[in-house]
Amino acid sequence: MLKKFHDISDRFSEHDLFLTFSGPMSQDLMVEIGAILKIKMKLEGASFATILKVFSILVELNQNIIHYSAEKVTDLQNSKAEVSAGCGIIAIGKDEDRYIILSGNMARNRDKERLVHKLKQLNGLNEEDLKKLYLERRKLEPEKESKGAGLGFIEVARKTSQPLEYDFSNIDEQHSFFSLKAII
């Protein structure tokens, strides 16, 4: 087990991932990850604008895990949202001069088609069209599946320099592991 653990750590380093978290995610945890991320990026000399972009993507992807992960830890004594944490994995790295953020979580297969459709659509749009879509959607009522404004992925796409990479690995009949990579 310990040998494997070292392998896991090594593999994160091989992929230039300097900050990783896997497990139940909460709002407070996300805030702290964001705080240390900002400090690290500042020390590396990243510009204010880049730090804000990476931080924004971290927040959107993290809140997606909290809200939409199909794997949840819930306090059965108190089913209020505050004590329910979605499980997932977040990794932040730097590949030469570009920051990358990876997120992963269990997703329901029934949501796969909708997500793929959305991500394909976003990847087909340029900066100006993404802005237009963002402003349009902001004026509308959110989609019924959304717990926020339905703007999260558009926000992420607007802050990345390359198309979003994504993958669904089948787990069982109902679930897949959904991974997303954003390059800033």
């Binding site: 805030v31 804000l52 924004s56 927040v59 902001r138 004026k139 959110p142 926020g148 703007l151 999260g152």
Partner: protein, 126 residues
């Protein structure tokens, strides 16, 4: 009516809505876990306040360095509410206070401006 005062947290802004001076201020960052829940009392207060408004000059100052996508939607909804009141003849000035060091905060203000028709959103340097 009572003023609305909500203290800032790490991920929610300080909100001070003063019904006496007609100065409404939001300052800080906004990316709560449950945006609708956090802003529900703010909208409730606003509805009551706007309903009682006559022709007093209202100033809304917003100094928001960062907002997540769901807060962006909430801010838009709030501006739509102000805009509807302006269309009914209310006197509301909206100031978007941006930090020169933070280019995005200026752009965010511009993007809100694009989506408003009669409500004037002033971009004010901090």
């Amino acid at each position: 009516m009572d003023n609305l005062i909500i203290e800032a947290t790490k991920y929610t802004p300080k909100i001070v809505f003063d019904a006496g001076t007609h100065l409404l201020e939001i300052k800080g960052e906004t990316y709560p876990e449950n945006t609708a829940e956090f802003y529900a009392p703010v909208f409730k207060w606003l509805e009551e306040y706007i309903a009682k408004l006559q022709n007093e000059a209202v100033t809304v100052n917003l100094e928001i360095n960062y907002f997540n996508s769901s807060s962006s939607k909430v801010l838009m909804d709030m501006f739509d509410k102000f805009e509807a009141s302006v269309k009914e003849g209310k006197n509301i000035t909206l100031n978007w206070i941006y930090d020169k060091e933070n280019e995005s905060s200026f752009e965010y203000g511009e993007e809100f401006q694009e989506d408003l028709e009669v409500l004037q959103l002033n971009l004010v340097e901090k």
